[in-house]
């Protein structure tokens, strides 16, 4: 299953699961980044990392290492 750090910008996805370190998972869940939500990578920083995502009306900056803990499926 692809993870969020592998998705190209602008491609809509759906979150399947969020795993990884407890602090990271909790922070993402608090901000509404959770299974079942739609998510899009909006942008990538000039050096390729971090990435900007939009999920549940919120725009967030995530490091790639953090985005790698978010499993997604590509929406049509």
């Amino acid at each position: 299953m692809p993870t969020l750090d592998q998705v190209i910008a602008g491609r809509p996805c759906r979150i399947e699961s969020v795993s990884g370190p407890a602090t990271l998972v909790q922070r993402l869940l608090e901000l509404g980044v959770m299974a079942g939500e739609d998510v899009t990578v909006v942008n990538k920083a000039p050096l390729g990392d971090p990435i900007e995502i939009e999920c549940a009306l919120t725009r967030l900056s995530l490091r790639k290492s953090e985005a790698a803990h978010v499993q997604v499926t590509l929406s049509d």
């Binding site: 969020v18 370190p21 407890a22 602090t23 990271l24 998972v25 909790q26 922070r27 993402l28 869940l29 608090e30 901000l31 509404g32 959770m34 909006v42 942008n43 990538k44 920083a45 000039p46 050096l47 390729g48 990392d49 971090p50 900007e52 549940a56 009306l57 919120t58 725009r59 967030l60 900056s61 995530l62 490091r63 290492s65 953090e66």
Partner: protein
């Protein structure tokens, strides 16, 4: 008439307009203090509603009440009434953003679990209607079970209704029901509560179970012993087995409840409205344009601190000079006059002179943060900064430190993670600040002025020392003293908005005041100590006072002209030099000569370096005194190129130093390595009482300024040692 005071806590996500609401509610009746033991500022103010006073406490912006550090625990402690000397608030105002209700209500539902009245203030309703969102507030109030008030904090709309709702809810309701968690979870909370003797609030019991590695667990483990973590871990695995895994169960339960409550209250447009903010965001984070805008902005920030602050600093400086001259003219020479003019006035001047830079930087930061650009800057710089163990938010504080570490260190408040913030604070003084420039110019101009390209290269090299050392030290600190798991760098990219002038002014003034108030006394004290060490003993071998005699000579010189004036001036400068060389500090310098010898320094250089520990820019003045040139002003060195015909005090000092060093049998051959070693020492050493005072203030501890002083002095000594020894070897 009896006035009653209600205590109201104001809680909300960052970037929701919380400070705006706080300012609008309390106006100028505000008070900033500290909570014991943490770095969080405690802001409170009063508002009036009818015959009642509302004491509003502004809690730090947060996405959730899941404390991960002592700083975050403060909010929870305050809301539960656990902060000493602070009663439990009567009401909580939960401030949310109308354009993103669901996510903001997450924190609201946590507040509803505290067992106290909660009033929901829905801000930015104007923006919501621009986004074509329609919110049915009465319906939302019924569904949530708490009072709901739509407001526009920036325009002061809805504040009366909000205050009235707060006053009402304090009298009537005992607090809302809260979100029902699944049965197995409630069961575990109850069981854990019983096992702890029923002493702990249900809210904290929930937090202990939900926050893996959270601070509540640490705090309670300190109270109830090591059995607690084991018990909690067992409860968590039982919960996972029954389909309520921690921490996911919380988000799942709360968001499901919120969605159900909001459904039917909020009507969204079918298509998301693309705002000007979205377009701006695209430009500001663009690979090429974003980077370009960033570079231009950073250059502007830097120039603002450097250039705009200068006239103000000069003004403060001449005000200080004017006061000191006035004092000189109206008082008999002696220790008291000297204490006032060279100790106190100089010290106060040394405090005030930082104000322009601090206030300009904070105005810029307030604008950048208020409009939402700060997060974009951190986004662009994060990769680069993460290479040295910091994060994107460390960039602006470090850049500002090139002008002056004091505002730079104060600017680290934007960094949430404690270890990242500390690492940034500890390396900020390594950046070459503007106070180092006079010495750089003096020595480079004197010893490294030939060929034409050398001075520029040397100056560039001095700055590079800071740019290279600071990240390396940060990396070492993050691997040793400040080791720990990589902090989460999930950062909200807030929507762009027009910054509010009032909020910007307020932060600017607050920053300036905080510096004068908290760091000022320490800076002043250190200036007075150095004054005393340079003044005493002041008795000449014939029993007369150095102070009185030099003053007489100067007066005679003022009256005389031509050769006689020069002779008197020289005599005064020589006597002045003799006085300072035999002063307590001079004697310390002489006795420490063996320590300075490996660096290539004689005791005169050593003494000047010692005298510069409270403020490095005085080195030029002290060198002037020690080399019998009178007290040379640092500014004269920077402007030496501009003087025509007559040699300026700066170039005279440079020439004297060159002659003295050349004629010294030990230093003569190695005068360039000596100059380099002194330059490197000043680049790396923490010779700035203000920086240390600010570190003390920002970390609320003496340990960190002590550590900064120790490591930087060591680094400076070693750096100067290597420079001189290598230089000597090259010269042969």
């Amino acid at each position: 008439m009896i006035t009653r005071t209600l205590t109201v806590a104001l809680v909300g996500n960052p970037n929701t307009g919380k400070s705006t609401l706080f300012n609008a509610l309390t106006g100028l009746r505000q008070h900033v203090g500290n909570y014991p033991g943490v770095t969080v500022e405690k802001k409170s103010g009063t508002a009036r509603v009818g015959e009642m006073d509302l004491r509003v406490i502004d809690l730090p912006g947060t996405y959730s009440l899941a404390p991960r550090s002592p700083d975050e625990m403060v909010s929870v402690d305050l809301l539960l009434g656990h902060v000493k000397g602070e009663g439990r608030p009567d009401v909580v105002i939960s401030l949310v953003d109308a354009t993103n209700l669901e996510r903001h209500l997450y924190l609201t539902t946590q507040l509803m679990d505290l067992g106290m009245p909660v009033v929901l203030a829905v801000n930015l309703v104007d923006l919501a209607s621009k986004h074509k969102l329609v919110i049915d507030f009465p319906q939302l109030e019924r569904k949530l079970g708490i009072p709901v008030v739509p407001i526009q904090a920036n325009r002061g709309i809805g504040l009366e209704a909000l205050k009235a709702a707060v006053a009402r809810s304090a009298e009537t309701s005992p607090g809302p029901e809260g979100v029902p968690f699944p049965e197995p979870f409630r069961h575990e909370v109850e069981a854990l509560g019983k096992s702890l003797g029923g002493e702990v609030e249900p809210f904290l019991l929930e937090r202990v179970l939900l926050d893996i590695g959270g601070y509540t667990e640490k705090q309670l483990a300190g109270r109830f012993g090591d059995a607690l973590p084991t018990r909690v871990a067992e409860a968590r695995s039982r919960l996972a087995a029954t389909g309520c895994p921690v921490p996911a169960v919380e988000a799942k339960t709360r968001y499901a409840w919120i969605r159900q409550a909001v459904a039917g209250c909020v009507t969204r447009p079918g298509q998301r409205v693309v705002t000007w903010g979205d377009r701006l965001d695209r430009v500001f984070t663009h690979k090429v344009w974003g980077t370009l805008i960033f570079l231009v902005l950073m250059f502007a920030v830097f120039e603002a601190i450097f250039v705009f602050a200068k006239p103000l600093m000069d003004l403060i400086d001449s005000g200080r000079g004017w006061l000191a001259d006035g004092l000189r003219a109206n008082m008999e020479s002696g220790p008291l006059r000297s204490l006032l003019s060279d100790g106190v006035i100089k010290g106060v001047g040394a405090v005030l002179v930082f104000l322009p830079q601090i206030m300009i930087l904070f105005a810029v930061i307030a604008v950048l943060e208020d409009c939402g650009y700060m997060a974009r800057a951190a986004f662009l710089m994060d990769k680069l900064m993460s290479k040295c163990g910091l994060n994107g938010k460390s960039f602006i504080p470090l850049l500002s430190s090139v002008a002056c570490a004091v505002p730079g260190i104060m600017a680290t408040r934007v960094i949430e993670n404690r270890r990242d913030r500390l690492a940034t604070i500890l390396v900020a003084p390594l950046m070459s600040c503007s106070a180092r420039l006079p010495l750089y110019m003096l020595l480079i101009g004197t010893f490294l002025s030939d060929p034409w390209w050398l001075p520029g290269l040397a100056l560039f090299g001095m700055y590079m020392i800071g740019f290279v050392t600071a990240p390396l030290v940060a990396l070492v600190l993050k691997r040793t003293l400040l080791r720990g798991e990589t902090p989460v760098f999930v950062m909200e990219m807030p929507a762009f908005k027009v910054p509010q002038l009032r909020a910007v002014l307020r932060r600017t003034v607050d920053a300036g005041w905080a510096f004068v108030y908290r760091a000022g006394t320490l800076i002043l004290a250190s200036m007075v100590v150095i004054w005393a060490l340079l003044y005493f003993p002041s008795t000449m071998s014939d029993g007369r006072s150095y102070d009185v005699v030099t003053e007489e000579l100067r007066e005679q010189a003022d009256k005389a002209s031509g050769e006689e004036k020069e002779a008197k001036d020289r005599e005064a400068n020589e006597l002045y030099g003799e006085w300072k060389r035999q002063s307590a500090l001079g004697q310390v310098g002489q006795s420490l000569e063996p320590v300075f010898r490996p660096l290539g320094w004689d005791w005169k250089i050593g003494m000047s370096a010692l005298a510069s520990f409270p403020a490095r820019e005085v080195i030029v003045g002290t060198l002037g005194i020690v080399y019998n040139q009178g007290e040379v002003d640092a500014k004269e060195v920077l402007e030496r190129g501009e003087a025509e015909g007559e040699p300026s005090a700066g170039s005279r000092l440079g020439k004297t130093i060159q002659d003295e060093w050349s004629n010294d049998p030990r230093m003569g051959k190695y005068r360039v390595p000596v100059a380099l070693s002194l330059l490197v020492f000043f680049a790396l050493c923490c010779q700035c009482a203000s920086t240390l005072a600010v570190i003390r203030r920002e970390t609320r501890s003496w340990a960190w300024p002590a550590f900064t002083f120790a490591y930087m002095t060591t680094l400076a000594y070693l750096g100067a040692l290597v420079t001189f020894q290598v230089g000597r070897w090259i010269v042969g």
